[in-house]
């Protein structure tokens, strides 16, 4: 064989091996976290390992539409994950545990299913807690310690004829020395209707009783808390529950079209019924719910319905902020 022939064969062979091998090698050494709408598989991989104190570098890309990425219960801004582009994120965990990461863009009907976990191992380095110690178990949430049945019906039999006036309620509270109902402990564990009932012992009219309820709820929250809750609501809840809380978010029609898989809810051991997203402007439903009950519903989610579990995403404080915002659909706070 002539040397030119041999050289040509070697060149072609090397070119083919290089053209096949180089991209494969580079590709296999660049681990990407792929985001797809939940119907397409969600996050891949959806389980990530990390160590306490060691920076975790993530490369995120979307294989379809624009997604967002954030880690629950971490102080981080969500980042956009764009189709075909790579977003770099570096995270450092100072506490071991299982963290939930999630999509923060309304990417599709099953957006809320786009979740994954980061399993962080190692010893606690959080300076605010005992350093170098294994994490202490978190205290039970209030709805658990109160043993609330968060799936039980909780409608208020009576609702106000007009929106309660907190200003009037404030005057009545002072006048009748009703401060015992103003404590945060009372607020967390009672529904507005329960307070309304307790005020039966006074000679207030129904309207005045609702005014006292309005003031009690207002005095247990702040403008900042409601604003923070409103922001969380807009980002995470409005897609289904609607911008104005009326249960008419942009996904509602699609949820209805998707039928049982998206809207069924459990009302007994075997009883599955269809349910649309809750209308927070409905006083019958909201005035019968205590903050602790709402905490349970938000934390645990709808158990098989389209209502996701937020307990691993929001901090306790964020959940109380959100609840304060939900009650603002019933009470004209701080006006």
């Amino acid at each position: 064989m002539k040397s030119s022939e041999l050289l040509s064969r070697i060149l072609i062979t090397l070119a083919i091996i290089g053209a096949v091998g180089t991209p494969l090698l580079i590709w296999s050494r660049t681990p990407l976290i792929h985001a797809k709408v939940a119907e397409g598989g969600g996050w891949n991989p959806s389980i990530i390992k990390a160590n306490v104190g060691e920076p975790l570098h993530l490369k995120l890309t979307s294989d379809d539409v624009v997604h967002g990425f954030a880690v629950g219960q971490m102080d981080m801004q969500s980042v956009n994950v764009l189709p075909g582009k790579v977003t770099d994120v570096t995270l450092t965990f100072d506490k071991p545990g299982i963290y939930t990461f999630l999509c923060t863009r309304w990417c599709g009907l099953n957006h809320w299913r786009m979740r994954g976990t980061i399993e962080v191992s190692g010893l606690n380095t959080d300076p605010s807690t005992s350093s170098g110690q294994a994490p202490q178990p978190a205290p039970a949430p209030l709805y658990v310690s109160l043993s609330l049945d968060i799936d039980a019906p909780h409608d208020a039999p009576v609702i106000p004829g007009n929106p309660p006036s907190a200003i009037n309620g404030k005057q009545l509270t002072k006048k009748l020395s009703l401060e015992k109902f103003m404590t945060q402990e009372y607020y967390f564990s009672h529904s507005p209707y329960q307070l309304f009932e307790e005020l039966d012992s006074t000679n207030l009219s129904d309207s005045e009783k609702w005014d006292v309820v309005g003031y009690t709820w207002q005095s247990n929250t702040t403008k900042e808390s409601i604003a923070d809750g409103g922001q969380l609501y807009a980002q995470n809840c409005a897609a289904c529950h609607g911008e104005n809380g009326a249960g008419n978010g942009v996904f509602v029609d699609d949820l209805a079209a998707a039928g049982e898989t998206s809207l069924q809810t459990m009302t007994g051991a075997d009883d599955m019924t269809m349910q649309t997203p809750v209308d927070f402007t409905n006083p019958t439903r909201m005035l019968g719910a205590s903050p602790a009950l709402l905490q349970g519903k938000i934390s645990r989610g709808g158990m098989g319905t389209g209502m996701p579990m937020w307990g691993s995403i929001f901090t306790e404080e964020q959940i109380w902020d959100l609840i304060a915002y939900l009650y603002s659909f019933q009470f004209a706070y701080h006006n």
């Binding site: 072609i12 053209a19 582009k85």
Partner: protein
């Protein structure tokens, strides 16, 4: 007609006679081709960011339809890497002169298939799935791989470049439109070929292989089936092969008599119109139907697609020429007069391609910097935002192409009609109507 013979220039002649320059280009193209396959299979599934989609369907297509075919005819075939691995396997060598004894089956392609119907079918197979193919990287990767391995497989069964000549989905229309190009490979003196012993240009000799395209250069009158592989330049013992610069569309003076070529003209004309309507038009239902392969809407789209190119366009054309006076039978008239559709078809494709090429050019820069979608920024262009280019000249350029194509086709129709002594008016009217339709679809 005047010709300028490029091969008189020693540098060009030597570059074409030597195998090394072409081999070097082949290797580079093969690397790019394989990379496109892999990018399609392992790169980002987002089409606008994937090398396979961006470089094959935007960059390559733009070069092919706007430059290579109009100006170099089968110039792309001269450097296409698809036959390289198959030919190595078939010949048992890359450069060495061929053995007399065939290494594989070396069958002749059956006569039934020695036409461009298979190429038309393979083109239509891609065309009917094009909405998915043009946007889905892994489908593009698979199709590119199937073409490469198909060519290799056919090389072991049939002689010469059976894939290129009879099956390649783009080879058919490149051949059709290469007749308009101002480049040709032709013999210099016919008598030399007539008296040449052994016809090494067709059968091969110690300097090279017999024509891979199964063409006897001595009989070449059209570019259609000459793949510009340059083997005959190497094998001709009489230095009787030339590459010429010639007037545009010189081949169209010789009218086609083949029904497969005539239908190819309708297939390409109709496909450009359908693409313009479906891919560029405002009708979401058409896009959905084209994209949702396998649904009843897609089957309807496929039926309409095939009806337009095989029934409606040829049907109206036939009705137009049916009553014209001519000594030729209708079938022959149909084939001959369809030659006039070739310039118009090419200009339809130019006008259609300008739309999406100028719209999507910025994706090329982004993809160049991050071809696999792994977050690279090799040339600092990965984050160039999408921005349509030269939008101000798009509509005028398209109009110019279409009107120019119409005039070119009308002139070709007149010449064709004179040649076969019939009226050109029905053909010109047909061209005028479809040009109006294309203008409406694009503008």
């Amino acid at each position: 007609m005047n010709r300028i013979e490029f091969t008189r220039i020693p540098f060009i002649k030597n570059a074409l006679k030597s195998r090394y320059p072409q081999l070097a280009v082949f290797i580079v193209m093969l690397v790019g081709y394989i990379f496109a396959i892999l990018a399609g299979l392992i790169g980002t599934p987002v089409g606008s960011r994937n090398f396979s989609i961006v470089f094959v369907w935007i960059a390559w297509w733009a070069i092919l339809i706007l430059v290579a075919v109009p100006f170099f005819g089968r110039g792309w075939c001269a450097v296409c890497p698809i036959p390289l691995p198959g030919e190595w396997l078939q010949r048992g060598a890359v450069l060495n002169p061929p053995d007399k004894k065939p290494k594989w089956l070396n069958l002749r392609v059956p006569k039934f298939f020695r036409n461009i119907w298979l190429q038309s079918i393979s083109f239509l197979l891609l065309a009917l799935f094009s909405s998915v193919l043009l946007t889905t990287p892994n489908i593009t990767g698979i199709v590119l791989a199937v073409m490469l391995f198909g060519a290799i497989g056919l090389s072991t069964v049939f002689e010469r470049r059976a894939f290129c000549r009879y099956l390649c989905p783009v080879g058919g229309f490149i051949g059709l439109y290469s007749q308009t190009a101002p480049i040709e490979l032709r013999i210099k003196v016919k008598q030399i070929c007539v008296t040449c012993d052994g016809k090494p240009c067709y059968n091969g000799n110690e300097n090279g292989y017999g024509c891979p395209w199964d063409v006897f250069p001595g009989g070449l009158t059209k570019n259609t089936y000459c793949g510009l592989c340059m083997e005959c330049i190497r094998t001709c013992p009489h230095d009787n092969i030339a590459i010429n610069l010639r007037p545009f569309a010189a081949d169209l003076a010789k009218l086609s008599t083949r029904i497969d070529e005539a239908f190819k003209a309708f297939i390409m004309l109709g496909s450009a119109m359908i693409y313009a309507g479906v891919l560029l038009g405002p009708w979401g239902a058409f896009k959905d139907a084209a994209y949702n392969v396998g649904t009843s809407a897609w089957f309807m789209y496929a039926i309409v697609f095939l009806a337009i190119i095989f029934v409606i366009l040829p049907g109206f054309f036939t009705l137009g020429i049916l009553k014209t006076k001519s000594a030729l039978p209708l079938k022959q008239r149909f084939a001959s007069l369809a030659t006039a559709l070739i310039p118009l078809g090419l200009m339809f494709w130019v006008a259609f391609s300008l739309s999406f090429v100028l719209t999507n050019t910025t994706y090329i820069f982004a993809s160049l910097s991050d071809p696999l979608g792994l977050g690279w920024n090799l040339f600092g262009t990965a984050n160039i935002p999408w921005q349509p280019m030269f939008t101000a000249i798009l509509a005028p350029a398209q109009t110019l192409a279409l009107v120019g194509g119409l005039i070119w086709s009308a002139r070709t129709a007149q010449k064709a009609a004179n040649e076969i002594k019939t009226s050109s008016i029905p053909v010109i009217v047909f061209c005028f109507i479809v040009t109006l339709a294309m203008l409406w679809l694009l503008l």
